[in-house]
Amino acid sequence: MSYRDEKIKILGPRILLIILLNILAFMLIVARLYYLQIFEADKYRTMSDENRISTRFLVPPRGTIYDRNGEIIAKNEQDFQALLIMEQTPDAQKTLDDFKRLIELSPQEEQRISADIKKHRRFIPIKLKSNLNWNEVSKIMLHAPDLPGIEINEGLSRKYPFAELYAHVLGYVGPVAEKDKKDSPIYMVPGFKIGKSGLEKSLDYKLQGQGGTVKLEVNAYGRVMKEIERNSGSIGDSIQITIDTRLQKAAYQAFGDNSGAAVVIDVHSGEILALVSTPSFDPNLFTNGISYRNWNDLLNNERTPLINKAVSGQYSPGSTFKIVVALAALEAGVIDAKTRYYCSGGMDIGGTRFHCWRHFGHGPQNVVEALKNSCDIFFYETALRVGIDKIHDMALRLGLGQQFDIGLDNQKSGLIPSQQWKKNAKDAAWTKGDSANAGIGQGYVLITPLHLATMLARVVNGGYAVEPTLIKKAANKTVKNKFLNISQRSLNLVKQGMYEVVNAVGGTAARAKFNINGMQMGGKTGTTQVRRISMKERKAGIIRDEQLPWKLRNHALFIGFTPIDEPRYAVAVVVEHGSSGSGVAAPIASKILQKALELDI
C-alpha cells in the first residue's frame, strides 16, 4: 500500500519545517527580549522611574524680619490650604463641584482654579482655597471620602504683625505672576510667594532660602506609596533692620490723618530709626492675593497709599534748602556771620519782582536771623552771590541728588540743578531768577524726605558723610564716615540758626519747641507752593492756603534734630498739602523727636 507510505513520508519533512518555524518564532521572541531588556533597558528604566517617582518641591520657610530690638515684624504663620491633585480624582469637575458645595469660592477664585488646571500637569497640586479656618478644615476632612484628590495642606503664610506700620519698609509678598517666572521649579509650586515690594522684594533671594525636594513613589493612580528621598532645603535668612518699632509707631501716629512721610536717622551711624509714609495699607491683604476691590481702592486713593513717599516722593525742599545755601555761601566766603542783607519784603531780580514770605519785610538780617525768620530776601541775595554751582556742590556733599544703598529699590534721586544741568536738560541758560528760586528751595530743586534727613544728619553730626542704612550691620562692623571738610564755624552758625527757629522768640517753629531734661530741638521749616493762589480765587475770598482744595494746598516740611549740643537724632517730615511747615510739619517732627529721646535708642 504505497499511498500510505507516501502519506507517512511526507509528514516527516513537514513536521521538521514546523519545528523550525517554532524555533524561529522563539528566536524572534528572544531577539525582542534582548532589544527591550538590554538594548533599550536604560530608556525604559528611566521611563519606569518617571512613572513611579513623583518629585514634589518643598517651599522653605521665608526668613523672619526683626526690628532693631529683635521684635518680629515679618513672620510665617501656619495656614491651611485645600489642594486638588488632578490625577487622583476620576472626575475633577465633579470633585470641584462637590467641594464648592462645602466651601464657597468667589468667581475670581474659580477663574484662577480653572486657569491653573489648564496650566499645570496632572500631578501638580492646584490650590483651591487658602486661609481655611478650623470649621472649614473639619468640614473638608469629614467629607474626604467623597472628595478624591483633595488634600489639606498645612502651609506657611506671611504675616506682618504690625500691619500698616511697616508696609512701605517691608513691602509685601504675593503669588508668583507670569512675569516673575524663573527657571527654578519652585516658582511653579502653588502657594509659593515672592517679595513684591519693599525689602521683601529687594532681599527676596536671601529671604527665600533654598527650596527642597521630596521624591515619592506613587502608584498608577497617584497615591503615594512611600518616600524615597528628601532634601529639606534650607530656610531663608533672617534679617534685622535698624528701625525701632516703638519710634516707628510714634511717627506713624503723629501724622494722624495727614498724608506724608517722615524719616528719622541716627546722625552718627546713619541708621534709619523710623521711616513712615502715610496713609499706609495692610500688607497682609496681599499675601494671598489681594481682592480686586481692595486693590482698586488703594490704587485710586488720591493720597497714594501704595507709594513710599519717604524715598520716592519728590518735593521742593522749600526753606529747608536754606541750610544748604547758607553752608555753600559760608564755605565759599561769600558771607560770614556778620553779613547782613536788608529785607524790605521784595526785590527785583532780572526784571521780576521777588517777594519775601513776610510782606512787610524783616529789615536787616544776618544768616542766623535769616534762618530763624526764614527770610527769603537774604537767601535770594546769598544765592545770587554764591552762584548755583557752589550750591549744587554743597547739596551733593550733604547727600542730596543721589540714591542710597538702603535696600529699597524704589528710591528717587531728586534733582539738584546746576548751570550744566539746565543747559543739557532745558537747553537754556541759567538765569538769576533760577538762582533766587533755588536759594529758597523752589524752582527745579527736588528732594525726598530721606534726602532731607540725611542732609540734616550730616550737618549736625559735625560734617561727616553718614550713609543712611536700613539693614542692621553686624555689631563688629563699624563704618567710619568720611569728613566732608566743612568748617565747624559754618556748621555752628547754621545750627545756631536752626536752634533759634524753634527756641527763639519769633522763630518760625517756636510752637513746636520742647525741653526734656535740658534737651531741645533745632530745625528748619519749609512750605512749598503747589500752586499760587490766583487773582480770581483772591477775589472769591480765598486768601488762605487752607481754603483751597486739598490737592492744591502747599506742602509742609520740617527738618529737626535733637539734642542741640550733641545731636543724636535727625528727622525730616513732609506733610503733603499740609499748608504750613511751622503749623503742621514741625509739631509732628517735635513729637517724633521727643519720643526718640524718651526711648533713648
Partner: protein, 378 residues
Amino acid sequence: MRYSSLENQSESLYSKFLRLNISYILLIILLAIIGTLTLYSAANGSWEPWAVRHISRFVLALGLMLGLALIDARKYYKYAYAFYFITLVMLVLVEVSGHIGMGAQRWINLGFFKLQPSELMKIGMVLFMARYFSSMTIQGIRSIRGIIIPVVMALLPVGLIFLEPDLGTAIMLLLTAAIMLFTVGVQWWKFVLVGILAVVALPIGWNFLHEYQQNRVLTFLDPERDPLGAGYHIIQSKIAFGSGGLFGKGFLHGTQTHLNFLPEKHTDFIFTMFSEEFGMIGGLFLLFINLLVLLMGYFFAFRTRNYFAKLVIIGLNTNYFLYIFINIAMVMGLLPVVGVPLPLISYGGTVMFSIMASFGIILCMAVSNINADNFNED
C-alpha cells in the same frame, strides 16, 4: 503483520500510567508552579485571590490530564467527528443566545462551570482533521476536492468564534487548521494563493471587525496613537520589560506591576510581570521550558507510527505553540493585543483546563499506539 492495528487490550491502566512520559509531566508541573508564584507576586505577595485558586485548579486539571491520557486511544479516533459536531452545535448555541441576550457571550453556564465551546473546538477541530486525513489518500490530500471538507469544517467554527467576537481564538484556530493542512501535504502554492487572496480581502474584512478590534490593530501599529487608552497597556508593558533589564527587579519588586501601571498583570500580561521581576534571564528560562515541552511533543509525533496520533499531536502542539507565541509577542509589542493568555501561567480556568486536556491527549497519543499505524485498519 506490519500494520498491526490492535493495541494490547489487556494492558492495565496502571501499566499504561507507568509508560506515560514523566519528564513531560514534570515540566508541566514546573510551569504551573512558576505560574502560581508569579500570581502570588501579582497580588503583592499574597496567595489570595489568584495563586491559591490557580494551583488548586491545576491539581484538578492534572487529574483531568491523567484521565484523558489513560483513555483508550482508539476512543479519540472513534468519537472524533461526534466530538467536533457537538462542539460546533454548542458554538452555534452560544452565538444564538448571545444575540438573544445582551452583548458578547462566549460560554455556556453549567452551574458549577462556565464552559467555553471555543476552547473545546481547539481540540475538536484537531481530532476532526486528524481523523479525516487518516482515511484520505495522498492523491485526495493533494486535490482541491479532498480538502474542501476540512477547510469548510475549519472555517465554520472560526467564523462562529470570530462573531462571538473572540479574535484571538479565531486566529489561533485558523492557524492551527492551516498548519495541519500543511503537515498532511497540501501543496505550497495553495497556501500562497490563499495568502494572496487574504491580502486582497483584507480591506473588506476590516469592515467586519468591531470598532474595538480595529482600535487594537491600529493601536498596535502605533501605540502612541492613544497613549492613555488602548496604547497605554502596551507602552506600560514595554516599560516593564525594559526596566527589568538582564536580571530583573527581583521577586515581588516589580514596580510597574506592583504600582499598577501594568494592567491585566495576572492574565494576559503575566509574562511582562515575570520578565520585569526576573529580567531577561528569567524570560529565557520560561521560554526554554516551554520550548522543551513543545520539542518533546514533536518528538512524540515522530516516535509514534500511527498517522492519526501524529496529526493529533502536531495539531495540539501547534495550538500550544500559538498560545505562547501570540501571548508573548503581543505583550512585547510584536502583535496586536488580541486577548490570548499564557497557558499554565496566566490566571484563568478555561485555558488551564483546555490546555491540560490537550496535554492529556498528547500523552495518550504518545504512548498508546506505538505499534499501530492506523486505527481504521481493522
